[in-house]
Amino acid sequence: MQQGWIIAAILGLVMVTPATAEMARLSDGDLSDVAGQGGIYLSGDVSINENGGPIQNAYFGTCDEGSKRCGARLAFQLKANGGWMVLDDIRGKFSFQGLTLRVRNIDSGFGGDGAVFNRDVLEVGLPNTVRYDDVQFTLANSSTARPSDPGFQQTDVFSIEMQGDVVLEGNLLVFPTGNP
């Protein structure tokens, strides 16, 4: 269905933009210089595999089954016929308030650089605080893409678990540079 692609395009844009982005905190005073106030303010939470995923087999199960993994699994192969890098058992929950998304014109401020810049940018206003609940994943090497493939062997390298609040202040300003 096409609207899925549209949303994917937006998410894809956000994913690829850091390479051409700059961080800058914008005060309310600077905001008052902004022409136009379009855009949206997002709040909410995102959870990944809170109770497990849709696969039920010898490897994947619900989070109540201690012998199985209930998180998501990302495997990618860098070399033809080589092994697979794996982010395994990806789980967790993120909560935030005040992620903003809009287009603004910068023609002032920034120590005088704004007047020289004088362009439109996509501004991703970061939420002040992002709350992490049981965010975890395991980095591993695997002989196959799937745990269910014949000859599957996997070595877990390390695991990470995150809990608590992360301060994310400022704005992500995204604008095109270079030759399109």
Binding site: Q2, W5, I40, I48, N49, I55, L78, Q97
Partner: protein, 794 residues
């Protein structure tokens, strides 16, 4: 008793013009009947069979011809239609006609236009049996006018449209209508018709389609005896009043008609049923007023002769009190729409509202069909969605365009290389148009204009879009089971500009370039095969057979859509088989945002916010089956291209460096059906629950904000109409203040898939060729839930 056979055409038309079926009629009440008692009258019984080769209307010498006119039996092409008419003169000098009509068909085979040989609009047939009364009294709104009281009941009706032997028709139509006190007067050289009260109801047993010319006017297939496939059934009722003024003089030349009028819908209900499951539009009210509607036979902007309907201005409002979807009867809420169609300039070009009706349709479909050369100018409109008492208004909708829309009833075949499908084919031929939204108003129409139209992206709608459109959509009869629709379509959009984020185009200081994030130089090629649309117990179910598309965004720009800066070219290719979507009434219900728990206390104790989002809203359940690539056009892929060679028309596609995610597909990861291939039935399943709801908005910095409203970091924004800005900041809002939190779209999403793979990620150099950076990606066992509330930034 007199019998009339084969009446000459002029006499026939004079008679038909006087027939009760052609007039507005009124059932007599007991009081009126008592006045009839004892009066002598004339009873005329007529078995009518009549035909005329051609009936023509000329406007400034240009003719439009109704060909092959026939009146007779609806069930026997050589039979007669029975008419019984009793005429009485009442004591107040009014004339009363009691009439009975049985088994009548009025039809014509084609409508042609002068100067368009070999092309016809197609035929229409109307079947009816009816019984009613018409009372004509002297004196209307003025002493010199007339008053009509009309009442009738129609049964066994059919209304069909037929091109090249294939037809679509309303079958089993029953209707009652009561319209007392219709006045007809001549005022200042114009006819004024006023209908102070028109009430009635109707049912349509089925909307049928036939691809066999021998089935003409039958409900069943003559070969199989089976009922013809149906799109569904209709029922409804209405209560409206109207006034119409008819005067002489068209927009072109010295002849023609001018119409002015207004209609007020006091109440109406419309129910569509698919195998008994309804889509119900209830408690409809509204009004409309049109001025300077002209009717001519005249050439369009391309010199093609047509029946020209040109409009001065149309304004109105329309409200649907409740939209109910599915057999379970849930409601998605209330919709309201107000509009003004009027001449206006868009993008430096003047647009008007006009339709030129021509014959021919698609040139390969046969000589008969409908071609509508249209130009439209929606100068201003607002539409509002209210659910559970919360309202969001999408304000300042404008739309413009010009192009041809063709209508043919077609069958499954290929003619001259053009593929046709069973059903009603809507063709788009060189349509250039667009639309844009100015902003949102939350709560009521007097609220301040603010951004946030991009919230519509959650429903797959861009906040602004201009495009060139070609292609076709064929709506076939019959869904996945029984009644419903089957859709086959091929759509091409070229030179498009679609806003992903959009600012206002007029913030009150005059029109300005609409800033935003724009997908420009957009070409979109989309194909759908055997997509069924059914109403089920749950709601509206759409199941795709096969669908593939390529969206080629030449430049993704920030700011003005014509700005120079660009992120480069983005190409999204989609290839799906068996994907589906179900639209259900009702949103998320009770939600714990930012915490866990199934009750308010449990949610709050976990640090979350408990939200009771009510019974209304919309739920969309999507299943996307991404199929393996079978060709360069039928695949799922993503391409980002930059560093292109600059040509005379800008960056040239295919000359830069590309990042390619090649052959993206879903899989179940197992072969349970034993066909030697991995199953692909689970796909990506996403449930979206959409509500309008208050959300917690906190101030991000201390001090005055953009509107000068002062608050501290962390304070909540509370809407307050008593303040100049319409809101204030509160450190610790009370429960009643929390009820005044800003409104926005609340989306609860749950997405999961078993396996999503990317066959390879390639880097493509224009001269060095492709190099695979990642040999494969496999993402398994994903289950994502999100509770997001999106509010406009003020």
């Amino acid at each position: 008793m007199r019998r009339l056979y084969d009446i000459p055409a002029p006499l026939l038309m004079a008679f038909v013009g006087a027939l009760p079926a052609q007039a507005d009629m009124q059932r007599m009440n007991d009081s009126a009947l008592s006045s009839v008692s004892g009066q002598s009258g004339i009873t005329m019984e007529v078995d009518l069979k009549a035909s005329a080769d051609r009936l023509s209307y000329f406007d400034d010498g240009a003719g439009i011809h109704v060909e092959g006119l026939r009146i007779g039996s609806a069930t026997d092409s050589d039979g007669t239609a029975r008419h019984v008419i009793k005429t009485d003169i009442l004591q107040d000098a009014s004339v009363n006609l009691d009439y009975l009509i049985e088994d009548r068909r009025i039809e014509f085979g084609d409508v042609t236009l002068e100067g368009s040989p070999g092309a016809g609009i197609g035929g229409v047939f109307l079947d009816q049996s009816m019984e009613g009364t018409l009372t004509l009294s002297p004196g209307g709104a003025t002493a010199d006018g007339y008053t009509f009281d009309v009442n009738y009941e129609m049964t066994d009706g059919r209304l069909g449209y037929r091109t090249n032997g294939y037809e679509v028709f309303l079958d089993g139509v029953s209707m009652t209508m009561n319209a007392p006190g219709i006045t007809l007067d001549e005022v200042g050289g114009a006819l004024e018709i006023a209908s102070p009260s028109v009430t009635g109801s109707y049912t349509v047993d089925a909307i049928r389609y036939s691809n066999n010319p021998q089935n003409h006017g039958n409900s069943t297939d003559v070969l199989t005896g089976n009922a013809l496939p149906s799109y569904g059934s209709l029922s409804g009722d209405f209560d409206f009043s109207s006034e119409t003024t008819i005067s002489a003089g068209g927009r072109f030349g010295s002849e023609g008609l001018r119409l002015d009028g207004e209609t007020i819908i006091n109440s109406a209900n419309v129910i569509y049923r698919d195998d008994g499951n309804p889509i119900a539009l209830r408690n409809i009210t509204g009004s409309s007023e049109y001025t300077d509607l002209r009717v001519d036979v005249a050439p369009d902007w391309n010199g093609r002769n047509g029946l020209a309907l040109t409009l001065g201005e149309l304004t109105g409002d329309f409200r649907i009190g409740s939209i109910e979807l599915g057999g379970n009867g849930g409601s998605i809420g209330e919709l309201a729409f107000n509009y003004r169609f009027a001449d206006r300039a868009f993008n430096g070009r003047d647009y008007t509202n006009a339709v030129y009706v021509m014959g021919g349709g698609h040139p390969d479909a046969g000589p008969q069909g409908l071609r509508l050369a249209a130009q439209w100018s929606l100068a201003d409109a607002d539409f509002a969605w209210t659910e559970d008492g919360n309202t969001v208004i999408f304000s300042g909708l404008q739309s413009w365009g010009q192009g041809d829309v063709t209508v043919n009833v077609t069958r499954n075949q290929t003619i001259n290389g053009t593929r046709f499908y069973d059903g009603v084919r809507l063709g788009f031929d060189g349509v250039e148009g667009g639309y844009r939204l100015n902003g949102l108003r939350v709560g009521n129409e007097d609220a301040d204009l603010q951004g946030g139209t991009e919230l519509l992206l959650a429903l797959g709608v861009y906040p602004a879009y201009d495009f060139e459109l070609d292609g076709q959509v064929t709506l076939g009869a019959g869904g996945a089971t029984g009644e419903g629709l089957t859709v086959n379509s091929d759509i091409q959009i070229t030179n498009g500009n679609a806003a992903i984020l959009a600012d206002t185009y007029d913030d009150g200081a005059g029109e300005q370039p609409q800033k935003g994030l724009w997908a420009t130089d957009l070409n979109y090629d989309a194909h759908v095969r055997d997509m069924t649309v059914d109403v089920t117990d749950e709601g509206l179910a759409i199941v795709e057979g096969e669908a593939w598309s390529t969206m080629d965004i030449g430049n993704l720009r920030i700011g003005d859509k014509n700005s120079n800066g660009s992120f480069g070219r983005f190409v999204l290719q989609s290839y799906e088989k068996g994907s589906s979507m179900v639209v259900k009434p009702g949103g998320a219900g009770n939600v714990c945002v930012g915490g866990t728990g199934g009750s308010a206390s449990a949610c709050q104790s976990s640090g979350g916010i408990w939200e009771e989002r009510g019974q209304q809203g919309v739920t969309i359940a999507l299943k996307s089956i991404l199929a393996r690539a079978v060709s360069e056009t039928k695949r799922n892929a993503f391409i980002w291209e930059t560093n292109r060679t600059l040509g005379p028309d800008g960056p040239e596609n295919g000359t830069g460096t590309q990042l390619v995610l090649n052959d993206i597909y879903t899989s179940d990861g197992v072969d349970l059906d034993g066909d030697g291939k991995e199953d692909n039935t689970f796909g990506i399943r996403t449930d979206l629950n959409v509500d309008i709801y208050q959300t917690k908005v906190v101030k991000k910095d201390s001090g005055a904000d953009a509107n000068g409203v002062v608050g501290n970091r962390g304070d909540e924004k509370i809407m307050d109409s008593s303040t100049a800005a319409g809101y204030r900041y509160v450190a610790s809002p009370t429960d009643s203040e929390k009820d005044d939190r800003p409104l926005g779209f609340a989306v609860q999403a749950h997405s999961r898939f078993k396996e999503l793979s990317v066959n390879s990620i390639d880097l493509v150099h224009p001269t060095g060729g492709a190099a695979t950076a990642i040999q494969g990606v496999k993402l398994q066992n994903m289950d994502i839930k999100a509770n997001l509330t999106a509010t406009p930034i003020q």
